[in-house]
């Protein structure tokens, strides 16, 4: 119980830290409205269900229980059994159901309680959802959204903490997005539902409670964020930090600490992993000449590895003053003990070390 309280309080501390930064450093229009990530997702799903009668949501515990992480709170009460479905416990089953429903003309949002459990359904996601449009030569589209929390949570250990960004980003036929802020969540989820291709939306459980400023534009029912477009959360001229999901917050924190040392970081929030916004990263590196890629997942074949490769293959290579560095999770299955878990994930100090190494400063 004591550990649980400590976990919750540290998560809240982290969340409030992010709060401060989101208010200071976000480049969205100034606005008085604050919205938590979970409410952003909830409102997006609600509005899409309202907009199109073909849209429906299914998953474990999404209906009466309001969602395992309360993301779908109130939706079943409002829309009923026809639009919000609880499923038996079989990911391969309900992913298959959702794929079939999409093939027959509906627009399902399929929730995985966490993406760790999506491994049980991965054949349906990859071999059916991702590849069918291609294999059928355009006869069978699969307009489906797979969403749920991805990556590390807090104290849930090896089988509940894996980041699947690389796994899904690898496969052609899928669109993969990884939001950071509330605005990202609203825009990307809406785009995902309206997109004709299968989309994997990788959320983050620890971010669900974090509140962000939301512009009026982002609150509109037709607010869409296009896939393949990253967002520059913070401009800078000395070094580029690129990340997705929670790691963006880490970069913003590090950037804030570096102001004191006279280092101005440019922080890029990828938003989309497939397609990746090469152009924004390349242009930034051509400006700053230094790049550090930060992610929560493992380094081997990770998102950072793809970023490094794309820089090597582009004209930005000629503008590098230092090799591209990566800050990633430790190459171990996630340990349980809090102290070990903290060490297994990237911290602000890891980002600072990488920045200083890249810039050759102490």
């Amino acid at each position: 119980m004591a550990t649980l309280c400590k976990t919750i309080s540290s998560a809240t501390r982290q969340a409030s830290k992010l709060n401060q930064f989101s208010r200071l450093l976000s480049t969205t229009q100034r606005c008085n409205v604050q919205m938590a990530v979970r409410d952003a997702l909830n409102s997006a799903i609600d509005e899409e269900i309202e907009r199109d009668e073909k849209v429906f949501l299914l998953g474990e515990e999404v209906a009466q229980y309001d969602g395992a992480y309360k993301v779908t709170k109130g939706l079943w009460k409002k829309w009923g059994d026809k639009r919000v479905l609880d499923t038996p416990i079989t990911e391969m089953g309900f992913a298959g159901i959702a794929v079939g429903a999409a093939m027959a003309g509906l627009r399902p949002i399929c929730e995985f309680m966490t993406f760790n459990f999506s491994m049980q359904a991965i054949d349906q996601v990859i071999n059916s959802a991702a590849k069918t449009y291609y294999m059928s030569a355009g006869q069978v589209p699969v307009p489906i959204v797979f969403r749920g929390p991805n990556g590390a949570a807090a104290g849930v250990a090896a089988q509940h903490s894996q980041c699947f960004a690389s796994w899904y980003s690898q496969c052609p036929g899928l669109i993969v997005a990884s939001p950071f802020s509330s605005e990202d969540c609203r825009g990307l989820l809406k785009s995902a539902v309206r997109n004709e291709n299968p989309v994997v939306l990788l959320e983050n459980e620890l971010m669900y409670g974090t509140a962000f400023d939301v512009s009026e534009e982002a609150l509109s029912k037709d607010f869409l964020i296009p896939f393949g477009k990253a967002k520059i959360e913070r401009t800078g001229s000395h070094i580029t930090l690129v990340a997705h999901s929670k790691a963006v917050g880490l970069c913003l924190e590090a950037a804030n600490e570096l102001i004191g040392q006279g280092v101005e970081c440019e922080v890029i929030n990828l938003r989309s992993l497939r397609p990746l916004d090469d152009q924004t990263i390349i242009e930034s590196v051509m400006k700053t000449n230094h790049l550090v890629a930060v992610e929560g997942g493992w380094h081997h074949c990770g998102i950072g590895a793809e970023v490094v490769a794309l820089i090597m293959e582009s004209q930005a290579f000629n503008y590098l003053d230092a090799p591209v560095l990566r800050v990633t999770g430790a190459d171990v299955p996630m340990p349980y003990a809090k102290t070990l878990e903290d060490l297994a994930l990237p911290q602000v100090k890891n980002v600072l070390t990488a920045v200083k190494k890249s810039l050759n400063i102490s």
Binding site: K82, L85, T87, P88, T90, M92, G93, F94, A95, G96, I97, A98, V99, G100, A101, A102, M103, A104, G105, L106, P108, D123, Q124, N127, S128, T132, Y133, Y134, M135, S136, A137, G138, Q139, V140, P141, P172, G173, I175, E196, N197, G228, P275
Partner: protein, 436 residues
């Protein structure tokens, strides 16, 4: 007391007897010093009654689910009431579709052996399951197949040459050369493109049926699968979901005795796939798969139930796989040639149907000889035409990864076109449609 009386009335006990029965019942209960209300199990998970001795249900003690057969091997209806009374045209179409399929199978199997196509799967012995079931469906009912249901497409009118185009992966292939042979798919005929992964089509069929239920379009979904594929976890999920969500889907199992080399006795211990249905709360019919009429009647009945009550139904069609699993298999490695020949001679759906037609007077030796020649000619003509078609445009393989081609793929496509144009003498471009 009223509930018990009505229950007895429902099973046909006359009212006077009901009252006296109930009185006796209540008295004997009183002797046990408890009332029926208190003694009824009230678990959320099951609706049943208590027993005072352990009730061990051993399936080994149970008889298997019976096999419905309408027409015997001599082509005679065992029970005249089961004759669906088809007209001559329907009978002839059924026979011709089965035999045309058989002829096409032989030609395409041989063409693989000759190196003309890379792979093929025949339908020998199972033609009855295809034609019987397809004839009982609405042409717009959505079909999810496994890979051995070609007759369904044939019945619906898919042009003969289109099958061969797909096997060759040429420019006329609806699948644009993306898939291995026999992976047919056609939106026009409501036949979802075949996917190699076994049983993944099963929960998809449940999901599609759910979508159809919501659309209220008066159609159902039919999902074909083999008894081997039914071992997959996807099958369990498909059955469970279809039952829980009231999906109008017919699960049609072709139990043909083998899953490549695995015989049914190594595939399952229970009474086939039909016996599993009750476990999910799904009604089932087991049918003689080599009897076209039985398959037709069973599918018709299942469809009515599906549509009227929005419930799934399992049909298990018992049949035998006369051919090899595919061209990559030689079944003499695991079953005797004698066994296969015996099955082919003694219980072939085509032979049985021909016997019926002969008895009915619409077929004879001469017609058989004539049709054999004619059907072979049809196949060979289509075959020659398909074989001579060019392959599609080389750049077409970059299409359909996404609905709209994204810039990075367009870039790769242009790079390829550039490269091939520059080194065209190194590429067999004469076999392809010209690049744009």
């Amino acid at each position: 007391m009223y509930r018990t009386v009505s229950r007895l009335l429902r099973i046909g006990v006359p009212r006077a007897s009901c009252n006296s029965l109930v009185r006796t019942f209540t008295v004997s209960q009183a002797r046990c010093a408890s009332t029926s209300e208190v003694d009824k199990p009230n678990f959320p998970g099951s609706k049943s009654k208590f027993v005072s001795q352990p009730f061990l249900l051993d399936p080994d003690d149970m008889e298997g689910i019976p096999v419905y057969r309408a027409m015997n091997r001599d082509g005679v209806f065992v029970d005249e009431s089961q004759d669906p009374k088809f007209d001559d045209n329907t009978i002839l179409k059924m026979y011709k579709d089965m035999t045309l399929l058989n002829t096409m199978d032989r030609v395409l199997y041989d063409s693989q052996r000759q190196g003309r196509i890379s792979f093929y799967m025949t339908n020998y012995g199972e033609e009855g399951t295809h034609i019987g079931s397809a004839a009982a469906l609405d042409p717009k009912d959505l079909v999810f197949g496994q890979y051995r249901e070609v007759g369904v497409l044939m019945w619906r009118g898919f042009p003969l040459i289109q099958f061969i185009h797909q096997c060759y992966g040429n420019c006329k292939d609806l699948g644009k050369g993306r898939q291995m042979p026999v992976h047919y798919g056609t939106k026009d005929f409501h036949f979802v493109t075949i996917s190699s992964s076994l049983a993944t089509q099963m929960p998809q069929a449940s999901g599609a049926a759910y979508a159809y239920k919501r659309k209220k379009n008066g159609l159902c979904v039919i999902c074909y699968f083999g008894e081997g594929a039914a071992s997959e976890g996807d099958a369990h999920a498909a059955f469970n979901f279809a039952a829980v969500l009231d999906c109008p889907v017919i699960f049609f199992c072709r139990n043909n005795g083998y899953a490549i080399s695995t015989p049914t006795k190594e595939q399952y211990r229970g009474d086939g796939i039909a016996a599993r249905a009750a476990g999910y709360g799904i009604p089932c019919i087991r049918v003689d798969g080599n009897d076209v009429f039985a398959v037709y009647n069973a599918t018709k009945r299942a469809r009515e139930l599906c549509i009227s009550q929005s419930r799934p139904v399992v049909i298990e069609a018992m049949t035998y796989r006369i051919g090899h699993h595919s061209t990559s298999d030689d079944s003499s490695a695991y079953r005797s040639v004698d066994e296969v020949n015996y099955r082919d001679r003694s219980d072939n759906p085509i032979t049985r149907f021909r016997n019926y037609m002969t008895n009915r007077g619409v077929w004879d030796e001469d017609k058989e000889k004539q049709w054999k020649l004619e059907s072979r000619k049809m196949v060979m003509k289509a075959f020659a035409e398909a074989e001579n078609e060019k392959k599609g445009q080389p750049e077409s393989f970059f299409e359909d990864v996404y609905k709209k081609m994204p810039p990075h793929i367009e870039k790769q496509m242009n790079e390829m076109k550039q490269h091939v144009k520059q080194y065209k003498e190194h590429y067999p471009l004469e076999h392809f449609q010209p690049m744009s």
